[in-house]
Structures are given as structure tokens and as C-alpha cells.
Amino acid sequence: MVEKLISDVLQYGGYAVELLLVCLLVFRGHYRRLVVVTFYVSLLLLTDGVIRRGILDHFGISSRQYWYCFWLTDVLLALASFLVVCSFFRRACLREDKMWRFIRQALVCVFILVLGISSLSLSRNYSQLTASFIVEFEQNLCFTCVVLNTLLYLLMQQIESPDEELGLLVCGIGIQYAGPAASFALAHLTFGEHFSEFLIKLMMPVCTLGMLLTWFYAVVRMPKVGVVRAAAGKFAGVEEAAAGRV
């Protein structure tokens, strides 16, 4: 009873923040600057609040259809977040053309590798998508995103990026995937005990909510700080970085 109440609160809270963030990005015109972020949050709202919800209401939580829908849309979201991380790399390297050329090639290779391994792995096991396979698959996919995101964070430190907004957006993605990767790994280690299953159910919406709130803070609060600092002439690259399409 308590578990259901907690997961319902987190789930509906998540829908509300997703909707709020999409409205904020669209109606305040931030979507021009944050194209990929807007796409990702809209996709999140579409899969989380519309597709999954519709299938859940139509087929029920214990149905096979909902099970397939949930995990397949989750893979789709993980691949979309990979694209978000790539766009963050682009924004971080806005003034580093040489580095960006190298990173672009590396990212394309990693994307093809992730897509290839994911597709191969899914197609081989599509007829028998067992819980343990899905848990292991998701754990690896989330961890890949976390590693890539951490490399981006380190790159930003290395080039001393003055883009505060990007820093928070990167941290948001880090929270979104580090928590679930840890809980999937725990589930894998404990062979899917009730506690670890509950932890996965809890961690995924909590981390998504954490990411959305961090992005909300980055979009609503950080530009003001950026403008003040740019005006003070302390960080010359802020305006350029803020103008960069992400």
C-alpha cells in the first residue's frame, strides 16, 4: 500500500514536471536554444505520460504488452539521451573546432557500436525477453550513458568551460542514469529480490524527477546569472555558449 502510494506520487509528480518543463521551454522560447533538450523532454512526456499510461490502462500492469512497451520505450529513451549527451559535447566544444572534429568521429563510432550491440542483443533475445536479460541490458546501457557523461564533465573541466547552464544540464543527465545503473546492478547482484525490484521502481522516477528539476533550475535560474557575469566581463564565452544550439 505504502509502496504503491510512493510510486504513484513520484509518477504523477514526474508527469507534472515533464509537462511544466516542456511548456516552459516552448512558451518562453528556450526551445530555439535547447532544441535537443526540448526534443528529449517531449519524448519523455510522450512515452512516459501518454504511451505507457495508455497501454497500462488498456492492458493492465501485469500484461505482457505493458512489459514489452515499458522496456522497449526505456531503451528508446536511453538511445535518445545518448543523442542529448552528443549535443552537450557539441556545445562544450563550441570554441574547440579541432577537438570537436575528433570527438564527433568518436561519438559516431560509439553510437554505431551501442546501437549495433543493442539491436543485436535485442533481436537475439526478442522471443524470450527474460527479466534478468532486460536488467543486465539496461544496466549496461545506463552505465554507458553515465561513463560518456562523466567524460563530458571531465572535458568541460579540462577546457575550463564557462557555460554554467551546460554544467547543470550535464549533472542532470548524470543523476538520471547513475541512480538507475546502480539499482539495476544491485538487482542483478541480488537476483531480483523484492527489495531491489522496489528500489528500481523507486530510483527510476526519483532520478528522472531529479534530472528534470535540475534542468528546470538550469533553464529558469542560470541564464540570469550568466547575463550578470557576462556583463561583468568575467566570462567572455558565456554568451556564445548560451547562443549555441543544444
Binding site: 544496466q139 552505465f143 548524470g174 545503473a181 546492478a185 547482484l189 546569472v225 557575469r229
Partner: protein, 158 residues
């Protein structure tokens, strides 16, 4: 199995790392002026002297006394954050996150004390959080006006 254990350890560490980075970025916010001084003076808060003692004089840390001082300052500031010139009478999201961060850092300080590791970085983090809270309270109080007077002017004229 080894890979899963490795992913568990690294992901948990990175989760807390990103949480800390977010808090540090919130704490980097620049205020128009040093609002915290008036709040510190009015409420006799002790965190600036603690920070000065550690930063400038590198004084040895009396753990029990220091923990009590910071705890008292935290309780006073948490009360003021919620009730002083706050129309909504509740914490904002970033304040809640920073309160959580303060508690987490307090536990880390406790852990460092038990393991006899350096306590200075944790103490400096705690004082930075308290300074942020004092700045927020000061900024709010500064914007409240009684007629043509700010709250600070009003109190000085009483």
C-alpha cells in the same frame, strides 16, 4: 557478477558526485551584496568565525564544539529561511536540496572524525552552505519594506 559489482560501486559514487556538483553550483550563486553579514550580526551566528579560524589561522578543530556551533547556526538559519520575510512559509526546492546536502556533509564530517581523516574540507563546505542560507535570508529581509524603510532601516529606527 564482478562487472555488476563494479557498475554498482562506480554508479553509486557518480550519483553522489553529481549531486554534490549540483549543490556546489547552486552555492556559487552571486548575490548583489554581502547580505549574510547583517544576519550573522543580528543572530550572533558563529560560522564566519569558525571559517576564519580554519582558513586563516589553520587552528586545530575541536570537533564537539565545532559540530554544536554549526548545528545551532543551521537550526537558526533553517528557521529563518522558512519564516523570515517568506510569504509562502516553506522552503524552495534548492533550499530543500541544500538542507539535504548539509545533513549529508554533517554525516561525512562525523565519518571523517571517526576515521581520523582531514575534517577541514567538510567544515568549509558546511560554512559555505550556511553562508548561502544567510545570504538568502538577508536578501529576502532586504526586499521587505515598511513604507519607505527596509526591514533593516526599520529595526535601526525602533
Amino acid at each position: 557478477m564482478v562487472l555488476a559489482a563494479l557498475i554498482l560501486i562506480l554508479s553509486t559514487a557518480l550519483f553522489f558526485f553529481y549531486l554534490q556538483v549540483i549543490c556546489q553550483r547552486i552555492l556559487r550563486r552571486r548575490f548583489e551584496q554581502e547580505f549574510f553579514q547583517s544576519i550573522v550580526n543580528a543572530n550572533r551566528l558563529e560560522f564566519p568565525s569558525v571559517r576564519r579560524a580554519i582558513e586563516e589561522f589553520d587552528a586545530p578543530v575541536d570537533y564537539a564544539r565545532l559540530r554544536m556551533m554549526l548545528r545551532c547556526d543551521f537550526l537558526a538559519l533553517a528557521y529563518l529561511l522558512k519564516n523570515a520575510a517568506n510569504v509562502r512559509q516553506r522552503y524552495s526546492r534548492e533550499e530543500r536540496l541544500l538542507i539535504f546536502y548539509f545533513r549529508l556533509t554533517s554525516w561525512s564530517l562525523f565519518g571523517r572524525h571517526l576515521l581520523r581523516l582531514r575534517e577541514k574540507p567538510s567544515v568549509l563546505k558546511l560554512t559555505a552552505i550556511l553562508q548561502y542560507f544567510a545570504n538568502v535570508v538577508g536578501e529576502r529581509v532586504n526586499t521587505v519594506r515598511f513604507g519607505n524603510l527596509t526591514a533593516a532601516d526599520y529595526l535601526l529606527n525602533v
